[in-house]
Amino acid sequence: MRATDLAHRVAENAPAMLVYLDRELRVRFANRHCYELLGHAPREILGRLLAEMVDPGTLKYALSHVAELERGNLAPREYVLRDKDGGQRFLQVHAVADRDDAGRSIGYFACTTDNSAARRMQAALSTAEARLDVALSATRSGIWDWDLEGGSVFYSREFAALLGYAEGRLPQEFFFFAELHPEDREATLEAFADAIQAGGAVDREFRMRHADGSYRWLRGAGRAMRDPRTLAVTRFTGTARDIAARKAAQLQLGEARSLAQATVDSCLEITDELDERRKLDRVRHELVAAANHEVRTPLASIIAALELLRDGACPPEGQAAEAFLGLALQNAERLARVVEEWLDMERIDLGFTRLQCAPVDVAAMVASLAKQHALLAEARGVRLEVGAPAPVWVAADAGRLKQALSHLLVSAIDRAPDRSLVRCQAGVREDRVTLLIEDEGQDALSGTDLGLGVARAIIERLGGTLCVANRPAVGVAFHVELPSLAED
């Protein structure tokens, strides 16, 4: 074979696109691969100017490439061209000037390789990496990847961030198990070891030391991976996620539950006691109704809030969950107060509470209570009028009597409409000390006032009576009578 034939054969079949352009950038030669890629017949390309075949941007880029070649810069350049199917091709072009004996360029040799596959893979990889980054930071997750054979460990930037280390850099001496909370260390280590041993998965919650020295709740989900040939477990890879918010909510939920449980238990105790009392036929009907209402209403809120939380009627984290927990707690506390009041009344009624009786001036007590609640009355726009001409003495436990009268007064102020009057009048009738507290509230007194039951129990224990005149559209009047202290 002649040398020229051989040269032609090499040029046609070399595993790259070979092109020769003359000084005007007219195509003088293009090998088979060029035609195959671009989908043009040789006659369509040969003799044509580059300017006629590519878009202005590419032409400008090619001209700057030529200028660099003239300066002696032979660095390859990457071109993006459309192939015959309209697909994007990334072509790497090595070019060199063809010079005459005088050193002037008379044309350019170009050797072009198709980099599209590699570029596409790279692009896909960086998109996947970017997506993973977004996903990891959105879920506040970090990745670990332990190479069990080589012994190297990789932790992602997010993993370091979870533990409060800046710029994704864990300290040199970081060792996963050493940073676990002492209480979680053994069990976590065991679970991880089991997963690695069995080539299985693990999903655990544990606390790890944060850069600031505190411990943070994380959830780690990992999987041991086998070498496809040897089937030996060679990697252990997983994600770690910050679950502090959920843990805090869980803790609160637990507290709310135990408080609710404790109050529910107390309620049951009361129910038992009620049964006892019913047997003794000493139960007062309206008080049972009151207890029923005052226990069931907060209990309804507690149960509804906890059940809605459990059933996920709101997201487990965030404001709605906190609001539900808040309602449960608030009502558990309210229930606890009701229970306390009820037990208090029971203790008084059954004589378990010792009353420390001493002479008490009811007129002075009422005047002092009016002073004490003046601010409340003012806030409600209610005028308090106290009529107590002279001291009226009874034998009573001052603290308890004050508790009872205070409840009656506050109840009257609460019910009184704006700009109305609450009147208190103390006096003596025969051997009884009387006290009248009346308001101008338009609404009938609710039959579900447990505090009223406590007040009545106290007054009755002191040998007195409490009558309630419920006069719709006129107001409510409390009539208290206590045995007068004989003046010896």
């Binding site: 209403t297 309804a300 059940e307 809605l308 009627a313 539900f324 309602l327 609710s446």
Partner: protein, 126 residues
């Protein structure tokens, strides 16, 4: 437009929780009134498909509120559910006479409340 339920209840916690249950579990819209006067004002804006009432309310009782609401234009046949702490046999008889579809006792399970609402609405052909 979502089915509207009027809830008359003076306890603020229960107002919020019943609203959450009916909106999140049932997909209903809920308007809340603390007493009869407010209930009568609320129904003037848009007629509810169902009335959910507490029995023990300040001022007008739940039964009086129901009577007043049913006397308003467009609510003569409105189905009603009572959610109450007190289940006295006499009161129950009175509620039955008033054509109240269901009476649920407090404490209640949110899911059962939503089911009861759905049942009553279905029965009412809504």
């Amino acid at each position: 437009m979502k089915t509207l339920i009027l809830h008359v209840e003076d306890d603020v916690s229960l107002q919020n929780l019943v609203r959450a249950a009916l909106e999140h579990l049932g997909g209903y819209e809920v308007r809340t009134a603390a007493d009869g006067r407010e209930a009568l004002r609320v129904v003037r804006e848009r007629l509810p498909a169902l009335l959910l009432l507490d029995l023990d309310l300040p001022g007008m009782s739940g039964i009086e509120v129901l009577r007043a609401l049913r006397a308003s234009e467009g609510l003569r046949e409105a189905p009603a559910i009572f959610l109450t702490a007190v289940v006295d046999p006499n009161v129950l008889a009175e509620l039955r006479a008033l054509d109240v579809q269901e009476v649920l006792q407090k404490p209640f399970r949110p899911r059962l409340l939503v089911e009861a609402v759905a049942r009553v609405l279905k029965g009412a052909g809504a």
